[in-house]
């Protein structure tokens, strides 16, 4: 089912959290809401499931206007940031609660609970109470409870935050598989860009209540609209160089570094710019040599990560296949792939 937020605004008293947000999630699509803490991700989610009434604007499910529909009638499954399991009920009762409310026969409930529990691998825990579960187990119970009544829309508020690395990977593909199989429309809130990029069809990046950009993961990575988006995606993160435009080239003050860039044609000389360089575009290929001094080296197993200080004091990160010949303190002269860099104006907008 398609979800549409139309000029959605939400304020709590005098604090405006979201203003005039437009967002469309296609039927069967999984969208990631990515953004720093406090930017309004949960607030948006709560509005979609009907817990918060929008201050203004409309929310549509398919062709139905649900803005004023109570959450009981929206058929939305939610996994809360804090799980929100019912402490006095066993895992089985927790998962079966949505069905119990619908007065499904108890034999039927048992069967469906057993099925869904097997799906999220918690068959052995059905008799326990939430307090007797680990964080990851609680999260899976919450997921099972959200899925059991086959919702039209699935909302996940950081559902994987408390899992260990292996389980997280497993649950990532598990959730994605479930979502694809059931054709459910899903919104995933997360801090974790890897999670967003690997699980979702599209990503919406939010910053203080606004959506900065919506795009597919690869579009977003290769064509960020602002420096904020560029800095949010990618691990290790992108590094920025502060410089100026000069005759169609980016000039880094103090180092004599000069990068001719097609995007800078027609930009007046002296305009302050910032150049984003992803670590994989420095030290591997490219045609512009850059001199600097390695100040930090870290191996990540298959790859090494280096921080290189340029003569003017700014830092470039580089990620390369493992090599032993470079140590902190060494002077290096590595190539920079100028075609893959991003140029941003002073206000963060991409040029």
């Amino acid at each position: 089912m398609r979800i549409l937020l139309d000029k959605f605004s939400k304020s709590f008293g005098s604090t405006k959290v979201i203003e005039d947000m437009d967002l469309e999630v296609g039927s069967g699509e999984m969208l990631a809401l990515l953004g720093p803490s406090g930017c309004g991700k949960s607030t948006t989610l709560f509005a979609v499931c009907g817990i918060h009434r929008p201050t203004s604007g409309r929310i549509m499910f398919g062709d139905r206007d649900v803005t004023h529909l109570p959450s009981q009638e929206r058929n939305v499954g939610v996994v809360f940031q804090s799980y929100a399991l019912y402490p006095h009920m066993t895992v089985e009762e927790n998962i079966g609660f949505p069905l119990m409310v619908k007065r499904v026969a108890s034999a039927d409930i048992r069967k469906q609970v057993a099925d869904i529990a097997a799906l999220v691998h918690i068959e052995d825990l059905l008799g326990r109470r939430p307090a007797q579960l680990s964080g990851g187990q609680q999260q899976r119970v919450a997921l099972a409870r959200a899925l059991i009544r086959r919702p039209d829309v699935l909302l996940l508020d950081e559902p994987l935050a408390n899992l260990d690395a292996k389980l997280r990977l497993e649950m990532r593909s598990e959730i994605r598989r479930l979502q694809k199989e059931t054709g459910i429309t899903a919104i995933l809130v997360t801090h974790d860009q890897v999670e967003a990029m690997s699980m979702c069809d599209r990503i919406a990046i939010m910053k203080s209540g606004e959506i900065i950009q919506i795009a597919t993961p690869s579009q977003m990575y290769n064509d960020p609209r602002t420096s904020f988006v560029a800095s949010f995606l990618g691990n290790p993160p992108i590094s920025f160089l502060k410089g100026q435009a000069h005759q169609g080239a980016f000039v880094l003050g103090g180092s004599g570094l000069r990068l001719p860039l097609a995007t800078l044609a027609g930009i007046p000389d002296g305009t302050a710019l910032s150049l984003g360089v992803r670590p994989e575009h420095f030290g591997t290929a490219g045609g512009v040599p850059v001199e600097g001094k390695v100040v930090f080296a870290e191996t990540q197993g298959r790859e090494n990560l280096y921080d290189v200080v340029l003569p003017d004091g700014s830092v470039l990160r580089s990620i390369q296949p493992v090599r032993d010949d470079v140590k902190p303190g060494d002077s290096v002269r590595w190539n920079l792939d100028s075609a893959s860099t991003f140029v941003f104006a002073e206000d963060g907008q991409r040029l």
Binding site: I51, Q72, G77, S82, P87, H88, V101, R129, A131, Q132
Partner: protein, 285 residues
């Protein structure tokens, strides 16, 4: 409920011997113990004037249990009345304050601040000062000398504290539980009944016990508003024994006193676990 770690008791016994503490406490409690022991011994024995040592065993003082004294109501009727009185008060207080507390804590009530302040003022107000007015009102609407009348009055007087307490306990229940309940499709009433109320069960138990005990021990209101023989409660019956100057019987007075206090002790034995639980909160499992 899961097993709670018994940190306090374990560490105490591990760190130092508890024997001196027990001895000291025993010593200080001795006068009290002696008083209670004498209270009981006096009810089943006769003592010569001026002596401390009882000289004969007798069940005479307990005879009120099987024979009704002239001019006094039957003890079993009085006990039944007391039970009805205390139980109804408990029922009314629990029902009203568990709902009102929820509404004040969670729903968007207009003038909530005013309500809360009002409830507090009502609680602080000494209800005895109203007793004449209540007496007149009850007589006027025909509930004077009836159990219903005095139950309503006593419950109303105790309600502010109950509502205030319940509101405080509801405030500690996380909002997410309610959010999860509503998106799971439950009505607001089901959410309250099935999800929120169980979280504060220990508090409800405690409030219930306290309400029952206040009802059980209440004297002024039944004395003034329902003194009749048919609706008398134990406290009024007991008071009637000492007021009666003509056949003053100290032994019987003490026996009735013991009889009056026994249900309270039994209740404490059964419910003390829940009373202790009130501080731990219900949700810790």
């Amino acid at each position: 409920m899961a097993e709670k770690p018994q940190i306090s008791s374990n560490t105490t016994s591990a760190n130092f011997s508890s024997l001196p503490v027990i001895l000291l406490l025993g010593l200080f409690s001795l006068p009290l113990l002696v008083m209670y022991a004498y209270l009981f011994i006096d009810t089943i024995s006769d003592t010569e004037a001026g002596s401390l040592i009882p000289n004969e065993f007798t069940l005479r003082h307990w005879s009120f249990l099987w024979e009704t004294k002239a001019g006094k109501p039957n003890i079993w009727l009085v006990t039944l009345n007391t039970f009805i009185f205390a139980s109804c008060i408990t029922g009314v207080i629990l029902t009203v304050s568990s709902m009102a507390g929820y509404v004040l804590s969670r729903l968007n009530v207009p003038a909530r601040g005013f309500f809360l302040a009002g409830v507090m003022v009502l609680h602080a107000f000494p209800s005895v000062t109203l007793i004449i007015a209540i007496f007149i009102v009850l007589q006027w609407i025909g509930l004077y000398n009836s159990l219903i009348g005095v139950i309503l009055v006593k419950a109303a007087v105790e309600l502010p504290l109950g509502i205030w307490l319940m509101k405080g306990f509801y405030d500690t229940v996380p909002w997410e539980i309610e959010m999860a309940g509503t998106v799971d499709g439950a009505s607001r009433f089901t959410v309250w009944r099935r999800l929120v109320l169980p979280q504060i069960k220990p508090a409800v138990m405690a409030l219930g016990l306290f309400s029952f005990l206040t009802g059980w021990s209440e004297f002024i209101m039944p004395q003034v508003l329902a003194p009749g023989a048919k609706v008398q409660v134990l406290s009024v019956y007991l008071a009637g024994l000492i007021i009666d100057d003509n056949n003053f019987d100290f032994g019987t007075f003490k026996a009735v006193g013991v009889f009056y206090v026994v249900p309270v002790l039994i209740l404490y034995v059964f419910f003390q676990k829940h009373l202790m639980n009130i501080y731990g909160g219900g949700t810790k499992g």
